[in-house]
């Protein structure tokens, strides 16, 4: 389990650091441009995957703006525990070959996937 401790630990840390970088960049940028660090916009109901798709579409269209950086930061934050669960499932299945825990983490992954696809 020691290898898994380290793996899970780094996934969580990298996710949070990336999220913070994008949020700081977005807020700083908006502050420099508008003179206030506050961003005023809202998301209409969407799910994480639509959220990513619209972020990527905007990136490809070259619409880089503070709101996009903030959106990516929040999407990265939501991905962090999700990826942690996915990697745990893979680890239990292939490294530990532990059927019970492959099933448990797989169940958590399936429920999260379902809920993140909700609209």
């Amino acid at each position: 389990m020691i290898a898994m401790d380290i793996l899970v630990g780094y996934i969580l840390q990298i996710g949070v650091i990336l999220c913070a970088i994008f949020l700081v960049a977005g807020l700083l940028w908006s502050w420099l441009v508008t003179g206030s660090p506050g961003l005023h916009y809202s998301l209409t109901g969407s799910n994480l995957f639509q959220f990513w798709l619209s972020d990527i579409r905007q990136l490809r269209a070259g619409h880089l703006q503070p709101e996009l950086l903030v959106n990516i930061g929040i999407a990265l934050l939501m991905m962090t525990p999700y990826v942690r669960v996915l990697v745990s499932t893979i680890y239990f299945a292939f490294a530990e070959r532990n059927l019970k825990y492959t099933f448990f983490t797989g169940f958590v992954f399936a429920v999260l996937t379902y809920s993140l696809f909700l609209r």
């Binding site: 389990m1 840390q13 109901g45 958590v108 999260l112 809920s115 909700l118």
Partner: protein, 258 residues
Amino acid sequence: MSGMGGGVVLIPLLTFLGMPIKKAIAISIVSVIATSSGSASAYVRDHLTNLKVGMFLEMFTIVGALIGASVTVALPQRWLFLAFGLVLMASWAVLLVKQKERWSPVAEQDAFSHWLELEGSYPDQALGQTIDYKATHAAAGASLMLGAGFIAGLLGIGAGALKVLIHDLVMHLPPKVSTTTSNLIIGVTALAGTSIFLANGLIDPGLAAPVILGVLVGSFLGTRLLVRLHNQAVRRFFLIVLAVLGLEMIWRGLWGGL
């Protein structure tokens, strides 16, 4: 911070500043993912967290959180103020009666907990040795975790204090393992709740961004400050904060002009 997350303070504060309570709950639960993941990353690598206990119990907390968050979306604001106030007062009562109990390992594990491989060891720096432990009553712990997940999703908080209580009293985990494992579970539980609020358009990214950064900095400074403060001083401080916020939320739920 001391098993007490930012959510219990953050939500009353945001509503006090005029934010509708559902939006405040949604923003709080996103920020809970950040604080949980941030601190869990360090604990997991220090081998304090029991991943198997965490991943078994997560199955129950996420289902609870999905139900809780769906209820929040449907419920009138007034009820949420009342529920929040009652949870704060319950935490206050637990903190008041909780004594620093000595943990002692259990010799016998029930068959189900044994089948789930809920045991482990962790390095205790204060004692300078590795402590072996076994968890018990997995079935009771799991069903209570469904309730803890429900409250987390309903009110947008980590409900860490409640999870720690279940780990300590029902499953007999050592205190350090219990707090750090609860921390790991909080992250996915909050994600499940977040997905419901996102789908309902309750997450305001422009407001969530500064709050997330704020709680990250706050939890970083908080843990450093906490090391220097006397335990009794922290406890007394939280007793006052919980009582004031709890009464205030109940007051607003009953008579506030919502």
